[in-house]
Symmetry: C2
Subunit: 151 residues, 2 copies
Amino acid sequence: METEATLPPLTHRSLPIALLRAREKVMGPIRQMLADAGVTEQQWRVLRVLEERGVLDPTEIAEHSCLLLPSLTRILQTLQGKGMITRKPHPTDRRKQQIRITDAGRQLILDNLQESRRLNAWLKNNMGEEKLELLLDLLNELDGLERGEGE
Amino acid sequence: METEATLPPLTHRSLPIALLRAREKVMGPIRQMLADAGVTEQQWRVLRVLEERGVLDPTEIAEHSCLLLPSLTRILQTLQGKGMITRKPHPTDRRKQQIRITDAGRQLILDNLQESRRLNAWLKNNMGEEKLELLLDLLNELDGLERGEGE
DNA sequence: CGGATTTTCTTATCACGTTAAGCAAATCTT
DNA sequence: AAGATTTGCTTAACGTGATAAGAAAATCCG
């Protein structure tokens, strides 16, 4: 009696694809805004993390901005070229660096704050704040799961 | 009384980042499985869609697999090279093509079905089937929103 | 101390994401 | 039917995603 489901789950009810579509829905307009500002979505995430948490090393940035280190290496080079971050050697550990956002970087965030807020308001209006919070809670719960437990 | 929230939403409660993290959580193990099978996540999505819906043209595949046409062009070339799909000209509209999955493609899906199911079971066990369904419903609702309504 | 291991970051490679531009076939318009 | 527009797909260019490999500094350990 264990052969009742012999087909893969339909893509309609596939969690990976649903996550992808939802992400595209919210990122589309943001990407447009950021393109006008001259930064990519990923560069924006790095700036946001630095603005929020202060001086960090690349490993910490990667963790908080959900980027892999090889990608971050390139992004930091780009942002440095644009004058939006600075790098200093770590005082005691010469492997590490201290990355800091510049005033120009902070200004870019400020310039896009209003539009960013507008998108959040749109989400709340059309989905309801409670559903939105519920969705965030579920996503965070999913992210907190560890493999190797209940298989 | 309108300057109460002057900072951007914390990245902790940022929907785009939460979606990204959740997606990484579920895709990580799947990617590993697919790498062993010699296909990428996107190639897998294309095969799944073709298996599920039969003969499609590239535009329809792009829609259902959540890929952009330029990416799909490359992916179809790769899959054709691997013998997992075939292309035929459309009988009446010479701009279109008819893409079909081959037996080899179907076999690849079958080969990975069990592992795919294991991941679904893990999700249900650790999050609960109801929460999982709720999450899918919320994601689909979000995807169904249209801009330009309640801003 | 000194070799082995680990950590931190970079480089390299290939595939994909995104935007724009290009081209051929179909459709619309008059 | 001829020209303009639209549709379907491809190509190009650049940045990122993912894996592996490399290099330098710190740490571990006998």
